[in-house]
Amino acid sequence: MYEPKIIGFLCNWCSYAAADLAGTSRIQYPSNMRAIRVMCSSRIDPEHVLRAFVNGADGVLIAGCHPGDCHYISGNYKTERKYVLMRKMLEQFGIDPRRLRLEWCSSAEGGKFAQVVTEMTEELRTLGPIQLGAGD
């Protein structure tokens, strides 16, 4: 079976803790995601997302604290706007915007985190490997 590669940018305070909880609770979920811990979801620059795709990621997950819970007060609002604009631009590049996903997972939501990764892995399986346009 085709195994998509997902780069997961997880914010230190909520979503990375959620991934940790999923682990310590021994929740089973696909091993397709490679986690990269960042201090806040807003640290993720669209350039990081493009770099992930160019370096072979089939999907990119950005996960942060729920609105109102960002440990830097308003980082995740900026993340959301960047994400919406980014998806619009990915579509113009001919890249399916479902390859980029934004989720809010608190440190108590290990189950939700596992479910998000499971869903995303399945969705990417149906989309198939990413194709970029290197051209001639």
Binding site: S42, D45, P46, E47, V49, L50, R51, F53, V54, P67, G68, S74, Y77, K78, E80, R81, K82, V84, L85, M86, K88, M89, Q92, F93, G94, I95, Q131, L132, G133, A134, G135, D136
Partner: protein
């Protein structure tokens, strides 16, 4: 001292860079005093075969403008590279792909069909289209191959210096010429323009880094005082290299980024997505619903075409995915 030998060449370009050379006004007289022009298709009748006959490194400095769009451009890039001691990518198209580089949202077949068959203004009932080769009684005729992807000069050959701008300003051209004549060129690979961002030389006043909405230039009459971005007009000065003297801003137009990104920036479009989305709609962001966020972002009509106006070919993705 022997006169230097200069060459000028145009690939996929509009011709503006050729005019820019003349925009240095009477300084052009200094140039012809100190240098001979050995190749300049727009002005001198010197053929490609004459250039092929030059010894390697015969040309001291070649100013190459235009992007690489066809096999002819690519061949000329290799040829002029071999024949020149110093090769300068002149203008935004040679440096980054420029406006022709926006064609990377399309491809060879799409453009061909549109131009020769599909455009409503085209009347071509016999579907007569150009061929790359044609056997005439006198022999075989050929046309250059049109590529799917537009490239910047350094993506096909080694480039010594970059002189950006659409077109480069007379001041930057003069500074470059002075450096050439006085032998004070910076290290190979340098961009012959300042390192800072355009905002630093912009005369407008920055008050607060928040914008409530995005408007298109025709929807606003700028007040002539405040930063255009703060007035809701997408201005790329924030990560565009300085050096143009903010000439568009002084004409009440936002910067479209023709000087290319500042040295710290790899992907100008991605960085603009980050910057614009971060300052747009900050006021009351904690109460905004998902729908409202989408409506806000939807005010930016064409992010790819706006944020990569001059730099699509050198961006991380370089082009749109081809439907093949």
């Amino acid at each position: 001292m022997d006169k230097l030998k200069f060459a000028f060449y145009w690939a996929a370009s509009c011709g503006g860079c050729e005019i820019a050379v003349l925009d240095i006004d009477e300084k052009i007289l200094d140039v012809v005093e100190k240098a001979d022009i050995v190749f300049w298709p727009v002005a001198l009748d010197i053929k490609y075969k004459d250039v092929e006959a030059f010894q390697d490194k015969y040309i001291d400095v070649c100013f190459f403008n235009g992007a690489i769009r066809t096999s002819e451009h690519e061949e000329m890039a290799h040829l002029l590279r071999a024949k020149s001691k110093t090769l300068v990518a002149f203008g935004a198209c040679a440096c980054f792909g420029g406006i022709p580089g926006l064609a990377n949202v399309s491809d060879r077949d799409e453009i061909f069909n549109l131009v020769y068959k599909e455009l409503p203004s085209v009347s071509n009932p016999d579907e007569t289209t150009p061929q790359e080769t044609y056997s005439a009684p006198e022999g075989e005729l050929t046309l250059p191959q049109f590529f799917d992807t537009v490239k910047a000069l350094h993506q096909v050959c080694d480039v010594d210096y970059f002189l950006p701008g659409c077109p480069p300003t007379p001041e930057l051209i003069e500074q470059a010429l002075t450096a050439i004549f006085e032998g004070t060129l910076p290290p190979k690979g340098s961009t012959l323009a300042p390192e800072k961002a355009l905002c630093e030389e912009c005369p407008l006043e920055i008050q607060e880094k928040k914008i409530p909405f995005i408007k298109r230039p025709y929807q606003v009459i700028p007040d002539g005082k405040r930063c255009l971005l703060e007035q809701g007009i997408v201005c790329m000065g924030i990560n565009t290299r300085a050096g143009c003297g903010a000439r568009c801003i002084k004409a009440n137009m936002p910067c479209r980024g023709c000087m290319g990104p500042t040295p710290e920036v790899t992907d100008q479009g991605a960085k603009l997505v980050s910057a614009i989305a971060s300052i747009l709609g900050v006021e009351g962001e904690e109460r905004m619903t998902e729908k409202e966020v989408e409506a806000l972002i939807d005010q930016i009509k064409d992010p790819l075409g706006t944020f990569y106006r001059y730099t699509l070919p050198i961006s991380l993705l370089r082009r749109k995915v081809m439907k093949k």
